[in-house]
């Protein structure tokens, strides 16, 4: 009897799924196939929606485009600096947080704030803090002056200065998530391990290296992977700091390059955009796979 009632659900089941399938089909599955097709269609014309041939020209164009190479360079620098740095700082803060009791909630709330702010809007504040104009050197330059350094325009100045601001802002934006994850990982480590270590008279540092770190290593690893993926997709933080014309500022990222190819003054080339997006996807996939391989050796589950 029960079986019979449940069996009649064939059509009904699909009916309940229908809206989700429709939306996912149109806006996810079809585009996924289509992006590969676009990337191989040479000389695609957006207005007439025609193309001349099929081949690898789009990839070759993108890979020889100096703007793309600049974007790849910027993205890699950003990734290599911010992922280890933000994970490290997050670990330091989380360990600090879990070793105190007073004010812990207050600190946690404060640290999480950047997560709920509009990246574009707060990016403007950072721009003002770092920017040097005719009217003012800006607050950061004032502080540099206190310590006897010379002023730099971080927004329109030398490359390293711009990269510094970008990395700083990126770390500021991604830390809330990492701190949250690591704090809850730390609090879930079984207290008995610590008690056992205490009985044995193990030093705090050794306890951390031998108990805490291995216990939370899956979470650290999860953060490294998501951190890599997120940093490779950096875009809106960069726009927030340097405006929409990123190529001129020499601060474009791979994702920025994709969108510039698609839209705006330099846009109208979905084929190049597709090729660049697929190259990005390939890079992210490769790095994630390498990460997974490394983790198999070093992470204790």
């Amino acid at each position: 009897m029960m079986k019979k009632i449940l069996k009649n659900n064939n059509l009904k089941g699909w009916l309940y799924l229908l809206p989700a399938i429709l939306f996912l089909g149109v806006f996810m599955v079809y585009p996924l196939i289509d992006v590969f097709i676009y990337s191989f269609e040479e000389g695609y014309n957006f207005a007439s929606q025609t193309y001349q041939g099929v081949g690898l020209y789009n990839y070759s164009y993108v890979l020889h485009d100096p703007y793309f190479l600049q974007a790849v360079k910027n993205t890699f620098i950003l990734v290599i600096i911010t992922v280890p740095l933000s994970t490290g700082i997050a670990l330091l803060i989380s360990v600090g947080l879990s070793s105190v009791e007073k004010l812990r909630n207050l600190f946690q709330t404060i640290y999480f704030l950047p997560y709920v702010t509009n990246t574009l809007a707060v990016g403007l504040v950072f721009m003002i803090l770092f920017k040097k104009t005719a009217y003012s050197d800006g607050l950061i330059n004032l502080i540099i002056g206190w310590f006897g350094g010379s002023t730099v325009d971080f927004i329109d100045g030398p490359y390293w200065a711009k990269m510094f601001v970008l990395c700083f802002y990126t770390v500021w934006v991604v830390l809330p998530f990492k701190i949250l994850i690591l704090t809850s990982a730390l609090s879930s480590v079984n207290q008995q391990y610590y008690n056992a270590a205490k009985v044995d008279g193990t030093s705090k540092f050794r306890t951390f290296m031998r108990i805490t770190l291995p216990m939370i290593s899956p979470m650290i690893f999860y953060l490294v992977i998501t951190g890599f993926i997120g940093a490779f997709k950096a875009y809106s933080d960069v726009v927030a700091l340097f405006g929409t014309d990123l190529n001129a500022a020499e601060m474009n990222t791979i994702v920025g390059y994709v969108y510039d190819m698609l839209y705006g003054d330099s846009g109208g080339y979905p084929s190049y955009a597709s090729a660049a997006a697929i190259i990005l996807f390939a890079i992210v996939l490769t790095i994630t796979c390498i990460n997974l391989l490394i983790s198999k050796k070093n992470v204790h589950y």
Binding site: F112, V239, Y263
Partner: protein
């Protein structure tokens, strides 16, 4: 005698050590709290400085003695901040509402109903989670353009009304509801839809609230898709609005008015966060990433 003194010394040393560690920890924590809070302080401070006052400060001041609300008036009158906010509210509410319906139905089908092809469909859904937005956005842009839906709310809303991850989250939640409830309802002749509405949704309310809030945050901050799909200022959301204000709004020098706009844009989410702090942090640690 000697032993006693030694114990006291050891205890004292331990105490001193603990205090030192504590001081260092609190200093570190407080330092980062300042780094996090300072931009917010600076944004509010600048937004209440007068235009003349701000521009005459070659060395920026850390406080102001004559706060003014004029910048907020400017933000709403000189540029269309009010319109951007209205658009964003419409976009956020519509997207979140449609998404809730879509994911609830799908999660119900996966969790409760039994039908041919369910497992395959679920595996396909799960594998869609790995697809980055950047790959599909190009075709979506072309699709929406061809459908003549640029600069419309439909064009803005439709591509973002499903989330495989939230379907998954909700399905897991639905599955925890005991089967016996469902059988009892079936015996009483309750329809599936009624069971979903009257039993499952009320029980899963905490998860639904979390999903709703996370989606609201995502909508409020979305930038890339709205930028691609709107070039008519009348359809700008706040992220594009602030970019527009920065590039063409008050003129580059009127930073205080710009900061007033930034405060107005940031405030709703901060209030939302302070009210739903627990749900948001719990939801994010269960699988939200920024992006």
């Amino acid at each position: 005698m000697e032993n006693k003194i030694d114990y006291g010394k050891i205890e004292k040393n331990a105490k001193v050590r603990k205090t030192v560690v504590n001081v260092i920890t609190y200093t570190l924590l407080a330092f980062w709290a300042v780094v996090v809070l300072f931009p917010f302080y600076w944004m509010i401070l600048t937004s209440v400085k007068g235009y003349g006052e701000y521009n005459s400060e070659y060395i920026p001041k850390f406080f102001t003695l004559s706060p003014t609300m004029q910048n907020y008036v400017d933000a709403f009158t000189t540029v269309s901040l009010g319109r951007y906010l209205t658009n964003t509210v419409i976009f956020t509410i519509a997207t979140t509402a449609i998404m809730l319906v879509v994911i609830t139905l799908a999660a119900f089908a996966f969790a409760r109903l039994d039908f041919k092809g369910k497992n395959i469909a679920f595996v396909i859904f799960l594998s869609l989670m790995m697809i980055p937005n950047e790959l599909v956005i190009i075709t979506n842009y072309v699709t929406i353009t061809n459908l003549d839906m640029r600069n419309t709310f439909q064009g803005l809303i439709l591509p973002s009304v499903t989330s495989v991850f939230y379907i998954y989250l909700l399905k897991e939640n639905f599955e925890q509801i005991p089967d016996s409830l469902y059988y009892a309802a079936k015996v009483d002749g309750t329809s599936d839809l009624k069971y979903l509405l009257k039993v499952m949704i009320p029980i899963s309310k905490p998860t639904l609230v979390t999903v709703t809030i996370l989606k609201i945050i995502e909508c409020w901050n979305s930038y890339v898709w709205p930028r691609l799909i709107t070039d008519d200022e009348n359809y700008y959301l706040v992220s594009n609005g602030i970019q527009e204000i920065r590039e063409n709004g008050f003129g580059r020098e009127n930073i205080p008015a710009m900061m007033a706009a930034v405060v107005v844009i940031s405030l709703p989410l901060i209030v939302l966060f302070l009210v739903f702090r627990k749900q948001i942090m719990e939801g994010v640690s269960r699988g939200g990433t920024k992006g």
